[in-house]
Structures are given as structure tokens and as C-alpha cells.
């Protein structure tokens, strides 16, 4: 135990700059959550529910969705695109593992770190100070965790599609920003999809994005429960399977392009 304590201490010293960034990031998240808190409190000033959600539910939704949304911008696709553009992908292809799987698992590692370091402390702060609710039921909590994991998988595979496209387009930056803008909105990390105007809700139902944030967080708040929750998760799984297949197909096309035509 002593050994690990020493290792931790030395690591802390090495990463002083990193520590500064950690606190800066935490500060930014706190600011974001405070803004959400005051904003929604003001919105609910003269009314008890919006889109059939009371203030507490809405706050719970907003904070958890914002925390989950934080994680969607840096994904495995970004790293893949970088490797493709730097030419490192050719070396990676010679290694005895599947590059796509490696990137996905690396992302999970990153998610694990940020879960422990950023999200759970923030959630604790929310529970204690801002009146964020706990999951409505025990089953809800379990389904929330499962649904979050599926949602993250889905986000990673959508990100990977963009990453693979770097084989064909040089300027991936614009596509990324477009994706981020769409994700920010259609995943429901800003407002629940149920608050959208009718036509947007319909549109949203035929897109995979709401499976990433809206579905898990709604399961958390209890808006989606019972059979509704299960069928939403089934849709999540279908989207994930579809995106997985898309990634695999274009990835094998891309690899063939590299190996046959030399990139």
C-alpha cells in the first residue's frame, strides 16, 4: 500500500500542469452546472411543470445530460483520424490487434477516468447542494447504467464513422464540428427531446442521436419506465448494431484501399 501511495505522490508532482488543467476543467463544469441550475430555476418561476416535468426532474435531467454530454466530443474517431492523417495507421495495421477495437477500449479507459474524476464528484455535489434526484427506482438505476453504456458505445461508433472518413477527405475538422453541433442538440444533452417542437421530435425519433443521452437520462429521471424504457433500450441496441456494421464495412473498404492502393 505504501508503495502505491509513493507512486501516486510522485505522479502528482510530475503532473502539476495537468493538475492545473484538472482544476480549470472542474471549475468550468461547476460554472456550467450553476448556470443550468439558475437558468432552469428562473424558467420554472411561475409554473410547476414544463413538458410534464417538474423543476426537480428537469434539473436532474439537465445536470446529468450535461455531464454525459461532456464526454461526447473527444472520441475514438478523433484519434483514428489523426493516425490516418499522420500516416501512423499503416504501422498500426501491422500490429497484432484490431485497431478499431483498440481505439474503442482506449476510449472506455478515458471514460472510466473521467467518470471517477469528474462525473461522480459532480453528481455528488448535485445530489447534496442542488437537489438533484436519485433514480426513481432500483430497476431504473440498473437500466440507466446499462442504457448509458449502450449510448456511449453508440456515440463511439458514430464518432468512428467520421474517423474512417479521414481516409477519403482531408479536412475532417468541418465534419467534426458539424457532428458536434448535431450531437449537442439532437442527443438531448441541452433539453429533453420531448420539449422539441412536434416535427423535430418526429425527426429525432428516426435518428440514432437521442439514444445517446436522452434515453439513458430519461430512464434515470423516471420519464421512461417499464416497457417504454425497455423498448427504448431495444432501439438503442438496434442502432448500435447498425452503426457497428457501418463502421465495419467502411473500415474494411478503407483497409483495402490502403493495402491495395497504398493509401
Amino acid at each position: 500500500m505504501r508503495k502505491y501511495y509513493e507512486m501516486m505522490k510522485s505522479q502528482m508532482k510530475i503532473e502539476t500542469a495537468y493538475v492545473a488543467w484538472f482544476w480549470a476543467g472542474t471549475f468550468a463544469t461547476v460554472v456550467k452546472i450553476l448556470i443550468l441550475y439558475y437558468f432552469w430555476t428562473a424558467v420554472y418561476e411561475n409554473r410547476s411543470s414544463i413538458a410534464e416535468m417538474p423543476l426537480e426532474t428537469m434539473l436532474t435531467y439537465a445536470v446529468i445530460a450535461a455531464l454525459l454530454g461532456n464526454f461526447h466530443f473527444a472520441g475514438p474517431g478523433n484519434q483514428l483520424a489523426e493516425q490516418i492523417q499522420s500516416g501512423g495507421v499503416a504501422v498500426e495495421l501491422l500490429r497484432p490487434y484490431d485497431l478499431i477495437n483498440r481505439l474503442v477500449w482506449q476510449s472506455w479507459g478515458g471514460f472510466g477516468m473521467s467518470l471517477v474524476r469528474d462525473m461522480l464528484p459532480m453528481l455528488a455535489v448535485g445530489w447534496i447542494f442542488l437537489g438533484i434526484q436519485f433514480p426513481a427506482t432500483g430497476t431504473g438505476a440498473v437500466l440507466f447504467i446499462l442504457s448509458t453504456l449502450i449510448g456511449l458505445f453508440l456515440a463511439m461508433y458514430i464518432d468512428l464513422i467520421l474517423g474512417v472518413l479521414a481516409f477519403w477527405t482531408v479536412n475532417i475538422f468541418g465534419l467534426r464540428t458539424l457532428k458536434n453541433a448535431i450531437l449537442l442538440f439532437f442527443t438531448g444533452s441541452m433539453v429533453p427531446v420531448t420539449m422539441f417542437p412536434g416535427w423535430l421530435q418526429t425527426l429525432s425519433q428516426y435518428m440514432p442521436f437521442q439514444s445517446i443521452v436522452y434515453v439513458p437520462v430519461s430512464i434515470y429521471t423516471g420519464t421512461l419506465a417499464g416497457l417504454d424504457a425497455l423498448s427504448a433500450m431495444l432501439v438503442q441496441i438496434l442502432w448500435l448494431a447498425l452503426m457497428w456494421a457501418v463502421v465495419r464495412v467502411i473500415w474494411s473498404l478503407a483497409v483495402r484501399k490502403v493495402t491495395v492502393f497504398g493509401g
Binding site: K9, M12, K13, T16
Partner: protein, 334 residues
């Protein structure tokens, strides 16, 4: 032109106790140690002189140059360049100086070299005609023609250095500080750069202070050298004199089949010395370095004598380095 007297620069270095406790303590209470980067340096340089300012890394060369160019304020002592005190009158001083700082670019990274020069023209308020004339001259001497339309970041090291040098001279400064202008360049480019510096010195009577590790630069450009070590001036005077006294020192490194039985051959006894191993070099390695003075021996003599007695796998002849000269002077005095 340049008057320096009693120039001293002290740095405070924060002492930090090891460990996390030390790091936290340092937040509240700092203990300092004073390091003298430059101590009581005095010299004076005439207009049009080209002076080599030499010393090992960390000897205080760049600290001095920074004080001369107005980047650093001295702890005590006086500097005057062109009658201006640089650190009190930084902008005024800057008009009359040019500089090349080793590998760091003075040009603008993203834009073509020609545009960079054009910006510098505006920054230094160079009259249009003078500018055109200088540019034409530089383009010819440094062979810049094909480079002018390329952004700096796409240039090779040698190309970049040529462009840098032109930038430093563009506003026809009275004094130019060149910090390692030839580091890492091939012989042809080095030669071009030296020719250019000589040419500018001749035409404009530009005063040049040159720091370098390259003996060739010094020999070709400077009559006078100032050697600095641990912040103090060790030598200030004629290059020729110092070369006669110390520059004759040559070293040959031998890699032997077997070092165990090595002895200096009889014919060389008392005329060569075995160079002691530097710290960190394995004592067991099969290399031996012999130093001798080229006044009484040629490298060929030494090599032949050793080859006749020992079986040698490989050998190299080392050029006399500034560092060795500095070390010599330090150990034996001028």
C-alpha cells in the same frame, strides 16, 4: 560603439525541498539561492569590429547578449550600445540592432518570406528605396531568390537561416548579435552565411557580436575574441595569439582491440598525454585518447607510432574545440 562595465546579473533560484511536502511548502515560503549568471563583465567594442563571444553552454553568453539587446535588466553595472542604455530605452535601442537567435525564428511563421520582410520594413520604418536596395543585395549574396515566395514553416534549416540572417540586417542596424548562426548547417550554407556577414561588415561597418561553437566561424570572421566562463571574462584579445598558445592542441581517439596492455609508444613519450576519461564514460571501454601539440608532432606521426605497436580498430581525429581551449585556459591561465 558598445561599452560594458561591471556588468552583473544575478538570478534568484527558488530552492525546493524534495517531496510533496517541499512542493506545498514552496507555495507559502520560498527560499532562494542566488546564482551569478554574469559577474563584473567589462569590455568595449569599436564600430565595425567583429567579435567572437565564446564560452561553454551556461557560461553566461546569452545572458550577456540579452542584456545588450534590452531583453534583460542587469542587476548592476552599465551597458551602452550606440550611446543608448538598452534596458532603459528598449525600443530606441531596438531600432539600431539586429539579431539571429539560433534556432528560433524571427520571421513570421505562416506567411511567405517576402511578406515577412515587408512587415519588418514597416516595423523598422525602413524607407522604400533602402529596402529595395537591401533586398536586392541580400537576394544575390544569400541566394534567396527561390525562397522569397515560400512560407517560413516550409523552409529547410539552411534556407531558414539564410532568410533569418537577411531579416536581421534588413534595417541596416549598427550592431548585430548572432547567436549560433551556423549551427547544424552544411558546409556550403555555412560558407554563404560567412561571406554575407563579411560583406555586410565591409559595406555598412556593422558591428557584429558572434557566439558560436564553430571554430571555423570564428577564424573566418573575428580578429578578436572574448571568452567567458562561469560568468567571468577569461580572455579578451587577439584570436591569433590564443590560437598559437592553445589551438595547437589536437586529440586523436583510438579504439583498440585490447586496451589492457596499452602504453604510450616510446617515440611519443613526453610529447603526448593520455586524456583522462570524462565522467560517466565507462573506464572499461577500449578507447584511448591522446592529446599533443601540433607544433611538435603531426597527427600522422602519432597515428603511425600507435599503429606500429597496437592493433587499432578505429580512430578519429578531433578538431580543436572552443570548449577545450576554454578548459585549457581555465586550468592553466592565459
Amino acid at each position: 560603439m558598445i561599452e560594458v562595465s561591471g556588468l552583473t546579473k544575478e538570478y534568484k533560484i527558488a530552492l525546493r525541498k524534495p517531496g510533496l511536502t517541499g512542493a506545498i511548502q514552496a507555495l507559502f515560503k520560498r527560499e532562494h539561492q542566488i546564482k551569478q549568471a554574469v559577474q563584473d563583465v567589462s569590455f568595449s567594442i569599436r564600430k565595425g569590429e567583429m567579435v567572437g563571444y565564446l564560452g561553454a553552454n551556461g557560461a553566461g553568453k546569452s545572458t550577456t547578449i540579452k542584456m545588450l539587446s534590452g531583453i534583460l535588466t542587469p542587476t548592476s553595472g552599465k551597458v551602452e550600445v550606440n550611446g543608448i542604455v538598452p534596458y532603459q530605452n528598449r525600443e530606441q535601442n531596438a531600432k539600431g540592432i539586429g539579431a539571429v537567435f539560433g534556432q528560433r525564428t524571427q520571421l513570421f511563421w505562416d506567411i511567405p518570406v517576402r511578406e515577412s520582410y515587408d512587415l519588418l520594413r514597416h516595423i523598422y520604418e525602413v524607407p522604400e528605396d533602402d529596402y529595395r536596395e537591401s533586398l536586392a543585395l541580400f537576394t544575390e549574396v544569400l541566394d534567396l531568390g527561390p525562397l522569397l515566395s515560400i512560407p517560413v514553416r516550409q523552409l529547410s534549416l539552411g534556407q531558414k537561416m539564410r532568410c533569418e540572417l537577411a531579416a536581421a540586417f534588413l534595417h541596416r542596424p549598427a550592431v548585430v548579435y548572432l547567436d549560433e548562426p551556423t549551427i547544424g548547417l552544411d558546409v556550403a550554407v555555412k560558407q554563404k552565411i560567412r561571406t554575407f556577414i563579411k560583406e555586410m561588415n565591409k559595406r555598412e561597418e556593422t558591428t557584429v557580436i558572434l557566439t558560436t561553437h564553430d571554430m571555423g566561424d570564428i577564424e573566418e570572421l573575428c580578429k578578436r575574441i572574448i571568452i567567458i566562463d562561469e560568468g567571468k571574462v577569461l580572455y579578451d584579445g587577439d584570436l591569433q595569439q590564443i590560437k598559437e598558445r592553445f589551438g595547437q592542441k589536437r586529440v586523436v581517439h583510438f579504439e583498440l582491440e585490447n586496451k589492457a596492455g596499452f602504453a604510450v609508444p616510446a617515440s611519443l613519450r613526453d610529447r603526448v598525454e593520455i586524456v583522462p576519461k570524462a565522467d560517466g564514460e565507462a573506464e572499461a571501454s577500449n578507447t584511448v585518447s591522446l592529446s599533443f601539440s601540433s607544433r611538435d608532432l603531426s597527427a600522422a606521426d602519432v597515428i603511425q607510432a600507435v599503429l606500429s605497436v597496437h592493433s587499432v580498430r578505429d580512430l578519429t581525429i578531433a578538431d580543436p574545440k572552443i570548449e577545450t581551449i576554454v578548459k585549457e585556459i581555465y586550468e592553466r591561465g592565459v
